[in-house]
């Protein structure tokens, strides 16, 4: 396949619906880690709950899509509280493992056989997104500039998802440039000091945990709508690590970090994948190609950090102080 084609596909991926979904989740992570310093390694858990919120709402309880969304948000809030109330007092690295564990337990429970009536266990859920696409105001067809084009369904999804992203960015910006955000950043540095100044660090941590979790939940919900299908095993811990990579690539504690990191990462991944696939098959055998592709993703991550440790728009000075 020629280079133009590769670039088009990569570009489509970078601005496409999946990228938007990931940006949402990364915005949540940025609130958690970037600004508050909470090592949340369970963001995928929020996505899981959010995604299943919609699906369960629509499929199991027969609610409307919008109530499904409310359930998503509700589930994310619930998880944030369940996770937060007991664990936010943990040391940072302990919290990291605790969040991973909770997310993983959630996945295992959602896929367990006893959860079948609610989640359809390992079979996952389908057919809950019709309401969303029925509400699509964009006439069907294909829209695009040049070779980059999207179907009306994709476009509808992208409009909603990127719309949420815009709201998320706006919220991040407003919050973090306000005294509220200052307290949050203070907590990142030293919770005890903040408490000694009369701020209820616990409550702030819960607030941000809920807020970031809601973004994770919305991301999950949008992902569910995009795929029109859900399976518990797509919410493996690795997803969180990709989110982290995107956040750090963009630059933590920057409003636009999540957007940049995510789109650049998706672009690279897609370009890479396409290039490999466009090679004649005799260069790389079938068996090895998949493995090597994943290995290359790893290599890209390593190189990105080596050459730009603070991220695309990160602040190197802050990073240096962080270590010393």
């Amino acid at each position: 396949m020629e280079i133009v084609n590769i670039l088009t596909i990569s570009l489509e991926t970078a601005i496409g619906p999946v990228a938007a979904v990931y940006v949402l989740a990364v915005i949540g992570l940025n609130l958690h880690f970037g600004y508050t310093g909470l090592l949340n390694f369970g963001q995928v858990g929020f996505m899981l709950l959010g995604a299943y919120g919609v699906a369960i709402g629509v499929n199991t309880f027969g609610l409307s899509l919008w109530s499904g969304f409310l359930i998503s948000v509700g589930c994310a809030v619930f998880m944030a509280l369940v996770l937060g109330i007991p664990t936010v007092r943990l040391r940072a690295d302990y919290l990291a493992i605790a969040t991973i564990a909770v997310a993983e337990v959630a996945r295992l429970v959602y896929r367990a056989e006893f959860a079948r009536p609610l989640t359809n266990s390992v079979y996952g859920m389908q057919g809950f997104a019709d309401g969303f696409y029925a509400a699509n105001p964009i006439p069907s067809g294909s829209y695009g500039i040049g070779a980059v084009d999207f179907s009306s369904r994709q476009l509808w999804l992208m409009t909603v998802a990127w719309g949420m992203v815009a709201l998320g960015l706006l919220a991040t910006y407003m919050l973090m440039h306000s005294p509220w955000g200052r307290v949050i950043k203070g907590i990142r540095e030293d919770e005890e000091a903040v408490r000694s100044l009369g701020k209820n660090a616990f409550s702030y941590k819960l607030q941000i945990l809920v807020l970031g979790g809601v973004f994770g939940g919305l991301a999950g919900a949008m992902l569910a709508l995009h795929q029109q299908n859900l399976a518990p095993d797509q919410f493996m811990p690795e997803v969180t690590f990709y989110l982290w990579a995107m956040l750090l690539l963009g630059g933590a504690a920057r409003t636009f970090g999540p957007v940049l990191g995510t789109t650049v990462m998706w672009f690279l991944l897609a370009a890479f994948d396409e290039t490999l696939r466009s090679l004649p098959p005799d260069i790389m055998g079938n068996a090895a190609i998949g493995a090597l592709r994943d290995a290359f993703v790893g290599l890209v991550l390593v190189l990105l950090i080596i050459f730009r440790p603070q991220g695309i728009i990160g602040n190197r000075k802050e990073m240096l102080v962080n270590v010393k």
């Binding site: 605790a98 750090l248 493995a291 080596i306 440790p309 990073m319 270590v323």
Partner: protein
């Protein structure tokens, strides 16, 4: 539970022979219905004289009566659907029909097929209880209940087992699972000591640790293949000492060396340069993710996706030590793991280099200022961590199977073990590993095995809530 097999290993063979020769399927041409009705205590002893009625579309096709061995057979005219009824009146008084399926069955017999219809019997009066057990949804009926009952009613005494019934099956299962849990826990412990050490000295969460575990296991596998390959084998058996050594022992040693070298190489050529450039820890964490992807997939490409077991360690006979039974393989894992763990913990606690490692963990600059060559110590830590993870991999591979994701699948549990034990404590990984291993295994007494990881992780979270600093960790003072 078949303890008797364990107490007398040779009985394994006897037991195999004792299993009844199945009534032959696919016997002859043409369609037929058949079955064997045996007495509840014994699969051998048939029950004679039970009548079976076969009909099709309400028309009687044939009847049959069980012979002395309990066998019955009905030739059918054609493939198709038949209705089979067992005359309950013909069942001898001391037995009754067991199970929810009841005396009447509708069966579909394929062309040229002999279809077997099963009518299990139970001693009079006991059928009710077992009806209840099996009528429950089996998935909601965890093993111990079901296991207990079936163990009692089947008896399976055919092999002439002494005292099968005297042992409490649930108790035995507890013992079995405890042993398995301890073993599993020690393996997790060994594999995660390195993680704990590395985290301790560099504050780095090494996400690639699981793949380093896999690396060790696969290296040992490759080496033992090489050693077993005819040419090398011939050479080695020529050398007096090496000839006697099990190939895996040599393979393990080499794998541990390779693991160590991998660790050393990583520190020297990746982490040290990154640290020099003041790359923050969280960024390094992403690098470990990247490296983990690379290593895992290179192993996949090189080794393939299949599971393998170490040659010459596949199936072993159980040894029994009191109520506990385990294979010699598992016993050696147990012993080796304990020795290594205690060794490492004492090294950390008492030796000079161990103290230096802890000092570096606390404060790199100050350690440097005390005359400790921090870079060298970090190098040692990575070397040691790498070798221990490789050893953990070999042990896990011995106890289970070797495949490209084995360590990766263990990773979360290793993290849990390290955290649970308390970071930076010498015995932390050991205690944490044991706790995780035991919880994972024992949880299956009550819950489905598919949730065993969930329980292990949940326990970790719960313990952290009570002791945020881990089991052995100590709280830091404020102000």
């Amino acid at each position: 539970m078949r303890t008797y097999l364990v107490t007398v290993p040779l009985a394994v063979m006897a037991a195999m022979l004792a299993i009844p020769v199945p009534a032959s399927a696919d016997a002859g041409d043409g369609e037929s219905l058949q079955g064997q009705i045996s007495a509840p205590e014994s699969d051998d002893e048939g029950v004679e004289g039970i009548e079976i009625l076969v009909s099709q579309d309400g028309q009687e096709v044939a009847t049959a009566t069980t012979d002395a061995d309990g066998n019955w057979e009905v030739e059918l005219p054609d493939a198709g659907e038949y209705h089979v009824v067992l005359e309950e009146d013909s069942v001898p008084g001391e037995y009754e029909l067991k199970g929810p399926a009841g005396p009447e069955r509708d069966v579909t017999v394929g062309a040229d097929k002999a279809f077997t219809v099963v009518y299990p019997l139970a001693p009079e009066g006991e059928a009710e209880a077992s009806d209840d057990a099996s009528s429950e949804d089996p998935s909601e009926d965890p093993s111990p209940g079901g296991g207990e009952e079936s163990a009692e009613e089947d008896g399976d005494g055919a092999a002439g087992a002494p005292a099968v019934d005297s042992g409490d099956p649930f108790g035995e299962q507890v013992i079995n699972l405890t042993v398995a849990g301890v073993l599993y826990g020690l393996i997790i412990g060994i594999a995660s000591v390195g993680l704990s050490l590395i985290f301790g000295t560099t504050r780095m969460i090494n996400f690639a640790h699981g793949d380093m575990v896999t690396f060790g296991a696969i290296m040992a596998m490759l080496f033992s293949w090489v050693i077993l390959s005819p040419g090398v084998d011939a050479v080695l058996s020529g050398i007096p000492v090496l000839g006697l050594v099990n190939p895996l022992v040599l393979g393990t040693v080499l794998a541990v060396v390779c693991g160590g070298l991998l660790g050393l190489g990583l520190e020297r050529f990746l982490w040290r340069p990154l640290r020099r450039r003041n790359v923050a820890l969280i960024q390094m964490f992403i690098v470990t993710i990247g490296f983990s992807l690379i290593l895992r997939n290179v192993l996949l490409a090189g080794f393939g996706a299949r599971r393998q077991q170490y040659p010459a360690f596949r199936i072993q006979e159980m040894w029994s030590i009191g109520p506990v039974s385990m294979t010699p393989r598992d016993l050696s894992i147990l012993v080796l793991a304990i020795v290594v763990l205690v060794g490492v913990a004492s090294m950390l606690q008492f030796s000079r280099i161990g103290k230096a490692m802890r000092a570096v963990a606390d404060n790199r600059d100050l350690a440097e200022s005390s005359g400790i060559d921090v870079n060298r110590v970090t190098l040692y830590v990575w070397g040691l961590g790498g070798s221990l993870s490789a050893l953990g991999g070999v042990l896990l591979g011995l106890n289970q199977t070797v495949y490209w994701q084995m360590g990766f699948h263990l990773l979360l549990l290793m993290f849990a073990a390290v955290i649970l034990g308390g970071l930076g404590t010498a015995y932390g990984a050991m205690v944490g590993g044991l706790a995780i291993g035991l919880v994972a295994q024992l949880s299956t007494l009550w819950f489905s095995p598919q949730l065993q990881n969930a329980w292990a992780l949940a326990i970790m979270v719960i313990v952290l809530l009570v002791r945020p600093q881990g089991i052995l960790g100590r709280r830091e003072r404020v102000g």
